[in-house]
């Protein structure tokens, strides 16, 4: 007929374009003009996508964030000199080997036996700001020593000498050579160096630190009259145990005269607990995701099932199953993509809020998660639409159109 002649004249490209235009027109009409239903569907999908992207972000970021929390257990690596003591430049070399973003704190200690009221007390000196980072669990009653002449004393020392913050004490130090030479001789030789201190804080750790006194490096130099050299260096590094092992090997190898080892109590236990925590979050994520996706699917199924009649009509008009599936899936995909994008943004905001509240730090944005979320929502939506569409296309159009 007329029409067929027309068709032959039209070139195929033009037909394709016109068909595509109508296809797009139908889908946009369905999406924009059935507003209430589409909002329901979009809401369902974006909730699903939000939970997906939020939980996955948390799951991936938890080890890092929690790892930082675990640093409250204090130093997880100890560097000791092979011979007598290590020099500041060795400590610097060690520090240089640890990546800046992983290093929580590095504190090098020097231990000397000093005398307080003629009784020996172990005195330690270190960069006290770093100590606060490597030993965050220390319970300090008072202020950390901030200026020369200030000292922090262990709980047991305080009890023994009956000292309180604000009181003064004097430490004396016998230079090594003279102590040895003066062994068994009269006391006066010993009274060489002395420094007056103000007690600023009392330290409670539940460990042997309670028997020590802590002073600034400069005070120790004054007291001993010797330049600083360290006995031990504590590092708090936020990494897994494998990374730490590699790092300690690197330090022992590259810095001459020192050897590094891990504080197994801290590293091994952290691995155990952190892996539990991660598998907890993983499982929770899987369960929540599975349930939410089913939830999204049922909502989509309900939304599409409503349109059985329309599907029947299209079939009666001569639409093939393929073209019906293509149209409804087209709608589903557009919805899935929009919902996925919206959900990915919301999910990131949620993860960010969690991170701010729980860990007081922001979360790392994972750009690859956006396409993954969108893809997942498109797949779930598509699968969810497929079931009712299939069943609707299977049904006789006559029956669908008859039933009111």
């Amino acid at each position: 007929m007329e029409k067929t002649v027309n068709l032959q004249i039209q070139d195929t490209k033009d037909i394709d374009m016109k068909k595509r235009k109508m296809y797009i027109r139908m889908i946009t009409a369905s999406l924009l003009r059935r507003r209430s239903r589409m909002i329901i569907a979009l809401l369902a999908i974006s909730i699903g996508a939000m939970i997906l992207s939020g939980l996955v972000t948390i799951y991936i970021d938890v080890p890092r964030q929690m790892g930082a929390q675990f640093r409250s257990y204090g130093a997880n690596m100890i560097v000791t000199p092979d011979s007598d003591r290590m020099m500041p430049d060795q400590v610097e070399a060690v520090r240089g080997l640890v990546p800046d973003d992983k290093l929580v704190g590095i504190a090098a200690y020097r231990y000397e036996t000093v005398r307080v009221n003629d009784r020996p007390v172990m005195a330690a000196s270190a960069d006290l700001e770093q100590v606060q980072k490597t030993s965050p669990f220390w319970l300090v009653d008072g202020e950390w020593p901030a200026a020369d002449g200030e000292i922090m004393i262990g709980k047991n020392v305080a009890r023994m000498y009956n000292l309180k913050p604000g009181k003064r004490m004097t430490c004396t130090y016998a230079p090594e050579s003279e102590t040895e030479a003066g062994d068994g001789e009269t006391e006066e030789v010993v009274l060489d160096n002395w420094v007056d201190f103000t007690v600023t804080a009392i330290l409670d750790t539940g460990g042997k630190e309670e028997d020590y006194v802590y002073m600034r490096t400069s005070d120790m130099e004054k007291l001993t009259g010797e330049a600083t050299a360290y006995d031990v260096c504590e590092l708090s590094v936020s990494s897994g145990s494998d990374e730490l092992k590699a790092l300690s090997g690197k330090i022992s190898e590259q810095v001459p005269g020192v050897s590094a080892r891990l504080v197994k109590r801290v590293t091994e236990s952290e691995d155990t607990v952190l892996s539990k925590l991660q598998s907890l979050v993983l499982l929770v994520t899987v369960v929540v995701l599975a349930l939410t996706m089913i939830c999204v699917a049922t909502t989509m199924t309900a939304v599409v099932a409503e349109r059985r009649k329309e599907i029947g009509l299209r079939k009666a008009l001569g639409a093939s199953n393929q073209s019906i599936i293509a149209e409804f899936m087209g709608e589903g995909i557009v919805l899935g993509a929009c919902g996925g994008l919206l959900g990915a943004i919301l999910g990131f905001l949620f993860a960010q809020a969690v991170s701010r509240n729980v860990f007081h730090s922001s979360i790392t944005l994972m750009p690859w998660l956006v396409p993954v979320t969108i893809l997942a929502s498109v797949l779930v939506t598509g699968a969810a639409c497929m079931i009712p569409i299939r069943s609707a296309t299977q049904v006789d159009p006559a029956l669908v159109l008859k039933g009111e």
Binding site: A44, V273, K276, V287, A302
Partner: protein
């Protein structure tokens, strides 16, 4: 007639109702599982954090002042010890149930055949105790030192001849050229003995220079029968708050009611206090490194779980809302007809709500049990222990499902009420 209509609605639309019930069941199982896990996560993580070892140490009153200060000379000089026969009392305190593990230590100096001296420490490895409550507990360093790597075997206290066995630290073993299976001859201040090295351990700390034997062996070698140097206790504790910090400084500064609260909460300081009450002349103090960090990690984990729970609940709630809205809207034609034959708005609302709530009840109950199942799956696969279901979960889930279903019906019902029967029946 009302009942008949509802029954009919269920029979006729059972497929749709089934779908709503299914979604509500999903939501309610999600809420149940997450709430249960959330409420139990503190306990479970607390157990896991025991990997860090003891969080309380108990020492005799006077040594707590002098210990470690003189690392030279004879350690026996102080002469202050705890009594071994009082060890059992630790499991009798108010918070006995929270004490998951503890072990005594008794150290003595011994000389080896090579001429070197070494510190030999007696302790429990897997000491079996039958408690007065009828429970049994295997306590000792086998679990308190979970981070040790042992070359050979752990010393088994239950086996015969355990008093002839020893575990040697890796540094000492290296120095003395010892490995698992070797014999070592030690001379204590009182006796001498041949010990079989069953295992060489690497602790990554100062313990690598020690020899560990059973308590009896160490006491016999050093002539210290019935005496104990220190006790390490691993207890499940509640993270510290202000009250606990105040109490830790001085329990007597608390008012009576504060004291009650403090004493009856498993703060590390109140457990310490209770231990001091039962072990004569002892000072129990919290190992800050373990106790504080534990508190922090527990708090964070719980907060994290709470937020995840909130997210999943919001998800479940919106999911249910959505489906209820979608499926009620679908029935506009039926409702239009009802209006046309003279149904008043309250009657329609009542009918729709009763239908939806009945469905919600069925779905909610099924979902609750499914949720318990999910919680157990999580519990068993992560913590290898079942999650305790708190009675609290039942009302919370019930209220949640009820509210969510009602709220979900609101937009749909509003839409139905605004329907003009003519529009609907004329098939728009």
């Amino acid at each position: 007639m009302f009942v008949r209509m509802i029954a009919k609605a269920f029979l006729r639309q059972w497929k749709k109702m089934l779908m709503i019930a299914f979604t509500i069941a999903l939501g309610s199982s999600l809420a149940t599982a997450m709430l249960s896990v959330m409420m139990d996560v503190e306990d479970k993580m607390n157990q896991e954090l025991k990997a860090y070892g003891a969080n309380i140490t108990v020492v005799p009153k006077s040594t707590s002042v002098i210990s470690d200060l003189y690392d030279v000379g004879d350690e026996n000089i102080s002469g202050n010890y705890l009594k071994e026969d009082e060890l059992g009392k630790i499991k009798t305190i108010f918070w006995a149930f929270n004490i998951v593990d503890y072990t005594p230590f008794i150290s003595t100096q011994v000389s080896l055949d090579s001429g070197n001296t070494a510190t030999l420490t007696g302790t429990w490895f897997n000491h079996h105790m039958d408690l007065p409550t009828g429970e049994a507990l295997d306590a000792g360093i086998a679990s308190l030192r979970s981070w040790w790597t042992v070359d050979g075997e752990w010393l088994d206290e239950q086996s015969d001849g355990s008093s002839e066995c020893a575990m040697v630290g890796s540094s000492l073993a290296k120095k003395e050229g010892l490995s698992a299976g070797d014999m070592i001859h030690v001379t204590g201040s009182k006796e001498e003995k041949n010990l079989k090295v069953v295992g060489v351990f690497d602790s990554g700390g100062e313990e690598d220079d020690l020899i560990y034997v059973t308590v009896d062996t160490a006491q016999a070698l050093g002539g210290l029968e019935g005496k104990i140097d220190s006790i390490e206790v691993s207890a499940l504790t509640t993270p510290d708050n202000e009250l606990a910090q105040k109490a830790a400084r001085d329990p007597s500064s608390l008012s009576v009611s504060q004291y009650e609260t403090w004493y009856c909460t498993a703060y590390v300081s109140s457990i310490c206090y209770q231990i001091e009450e039962v072990v004569t002349d002892s000072v129990a103090s919290a190992v800050r490194q373990v106790a504080d960090s534990e508190g922090q990690i527990l708090n964070k984990t719980e907060l994290l779980m709470i937020l995840i729970t909130i997210l999943s609940m919001v998800g479940a709630a919106l999911g249910i809302c959505n489906l209820v809205t979608a499926s009620v809207m679908e029935r506009s034609q039926e409702i239009g007809l009802m209006k046309a034959i003279g149904a008043h708005n309250p009657a329609i609302t009542g009918l729709v709500l009763t239908e939806v709530l009945c469905t919600a009840l069925i779905g909610g109950v099924i979902g609750f049990y499914a949720g318990i199942g999910f919680a157990q799956i999580i519990g068993h696969s992560v913590f290898s222990a079942s999650i305790q279901i708190r009675p609290m979960v039942v009302p919370v889930v019930a209220v949640l499902v009820g509210l969510v279903t009602l709220i979900g019906s609101i937009p749909a019902i509003r839409m139905l009420l605004n329907l003009r029967p003519t529009e609907v029946l004329h098939g728009r």
